[in-house]
Amino acid sequence: MNALAGQSAVLFGFLAAVFGVGTTAAGLVRKRPDLLRRGLAHVWVVLGAAVVAVVVMERALIGNDFSLEYVADNHSRATPLLYTVASLWGALEGSILLWSLILAGYLALMARRFRNRADDPLVGWATVTGLAVAVFFFGLMLGPANPFREVVGKIAADGAGPNPLLQNHPLMAFHPPVLYLGYVGFTIPFAFAIAALATGRLGEGWLIETRRWTLFAWAFLTAGIILGAWWSYEVLGWGGYWAWDPVENASFLPWLTGTAYLHSVMVQERRGMLRVWNLSLLIATFSLTILGTFLTRSGVLDSVHAFTESPIGPAILGFFAVVVAAGVGLIAWRGDRLRSPGAIDSPLSREGAFLANNLLFGAFAFVVLLGTIFPLLAEALNGERITVGRPYFDRMVTPVALTLLFLMAVAPALPWRKASGELLRKRLQWPAWTAAIVLVACVASGLRGVGALLAFGLGAFAAAAAARQLVLSARRNGVRGLLGRANGGMIVHIGVVVVAVAFVASSSYGHRAEFRLTPGESATLAGHSVTYLGTRTVQYPSKKRVIADVKVDGGKVYRPALNLFPNATQAIGTPSVRTTPAGDVYLTLIAAPRTPEAPVVLAVIVQPLVMWLWLGGALMVIGTFMAVVPGRRRRPTEPASAPAGEDRHAPPAPDLPGRAPVRVPEPVRDPVGAARPAEASGA
């Protein structure tokens, strides 16, 4: 029953997406607005189908319908409700279903937002692109990743339950959906980028339409990555939160290119430059979300040759190739229209800083991408199985990250076009003093290590520069001075500094030791004492848990545990962490005692400032949402000299799709370019 309902819903969604693509494309070719409107309406059918499919799957999970293979593999009667619901995204097929639901949701939001402009070809092309992506994901569920496949033969009375690691912490219920909201959110800007290329309307209009979509997607992606790190810290028991493993890199790569885009897009809005670059970054960001799905879902990481074993690998890789080929092909085709109307006047300017930012983010992404896929390339080329270790990432990423911190301090102080040394001195004076004081304070308090000290000094520099901007803006405009993109961006910058400082401090000044302790025995690490009191075993419906009582610093008792799940061969640890703003004491039970009197093996990890990683991440997300709220700003399409405050009454910029009364060739319609005196290109 569930299988039939679910499969019908998926098929229905697939067909709706296919017909939506067909109708919209026909409307575009024949220039029929009625077809365009009807095409866009298909989005609602796709959303309805996705919702029904997800509801059916949840019903099957909660109702213990073990006739479905997915339920039998990922659920058991003993699984608690929260993890039962979360099992929807615990394995491949379900996560594709969640992806499809979120994609349909985003497409529906797009349809709603642009409902009055459905007959605009730009919106039409974006609809075609978005629905084509939906065709792919619904298609996966019809074929290789069918979540509603039925069990062949006898139906079991109970299932295997979710992977033990996935039913060990409530964060599991939030991390994947938030991450997917980020991943999938980049589909909308991507669709508009493709639409701009297809229609040839390459002015700044499409950028402005998708600005908030990109910010939202970026905020969710940031939150998803931070939640993933937090989950890793709370569950995996190795005391870390970031290991440069391919799964983490897969989520980090689109974040890097997306971040580069959020910065370089401002150069295009202001000065009409970097058009090819911005389109490339958006297409790269979307492609990297697909590549990430390929890396994490196809089994290619186990062995290059494993990914062909499941049909999903070649399917996703093929889709990735299509996306990249379409993007590169369209940019090449439109090359003549993409020429910038100007060039950067001076490297010491806001746009010069954004360019440097982009080169650094590009290099960052390339370094991470190379480290991630190098083992795959090596295996494919000469059959050697290798791993690229953490030293590679640490060594290559550190200089890039430090330079980015420096740029974060200087860039907000730089004016557009050209900066004078005097202006820069004036604006950077007190941030530089702050950095110097922080640096001296760090050295005086005994901190050592060039890399770490540089990070703290540059972090202070960047944070002070951002704070200076916020203070000035708040003095002018009150609380509203904290809103808007530039000010929200500064809050994000402070969040980044908090994360960077916490990251460096916890990884540079951490201590780790393992102790073999009998009941009553104590051990000391980095000024913290731990006393082992004893263990007890508790039987839960879904697992057996061995809990150790450990007193930390003579105070509260913490309880690291080992969990034995009936269907797993290995015990899963549950670390216990004492968190304070100054630092964490992290306890993991390594080996349970054979008898009550026998010693346990306990790992103790002491790391400073870990809590600030999560708080800094939260600040980044809050800052992004404040950036989405419009602050007191002029329309970016207006010339920079327009008096502030007239924005609300200004006539809509002629480039906005659907409102353009006259059709004039693009370069002339570019309001930014047109409003400026002609600039000689080249130098």
Partner: protein, 136 residues
């Protein structure tokens, strides 16, 4: 600066960065061998550091004070004696596949890092991190 000179300068910088990058990757690369491969390539491996994979032979685990001795076997039956410095995790049970990082010393493979290989679906999703068991 002419367009050509800019291009040449860009290429030189890109080549230099590429060289640095490749060297960094090369330095940080750890080879991965099954027990069978390791035994067959014993001479070439010398005292290089690499990762070895095999099944723990049941009954071979002897727990010492600061080290653990055990034997692993490959799919084709090659046998390697392992001396692991440090404690082994609870995850570590006989007859499950394990990966160790270390080098050959005399007759033994001396490891200081154990990665337990999980066999379920989650592996594909999160391979290194889940397997990784930080060494002592």
């Amino acid at each position: 600066m002419g367009r050509r000179r800019k291009l040449v300068a860009g290429l030189v910088i890109a080549a230099a960065l590429g060289f640095l990058l490749l060297r960094a990757v090369g330095d940080a690369t750890v080879y991965f061998k099954t027990a069978d491969e390791a035994v067959a390539e014993r001479a070439e491996l010398g005292s290089h550091r690499f990762r070895i994979e095999g099944l723990v032979v049941p009954g071979s685990v002897r727990d010492g004070d600061s080290e653990v001795d055990f034997t692993i076997r490959g799919q084709q039956g090659a046998i390697v004696n392992v001396v692991h410095k440090g404690d082994v995790p609870e995850l570590f049970q006989p007859d499950i596949p394990v990966v160790m990082e270390g080098r050959f010393v005399g007759q033994n493979f001396e490891s200081d890092r154990i990665l337990v290989k999980h066999t379920n679906e989650y592996k594909a999703e999160n391979p290194d991190r889940v397997e990784e068991y930080p060494g002592a």
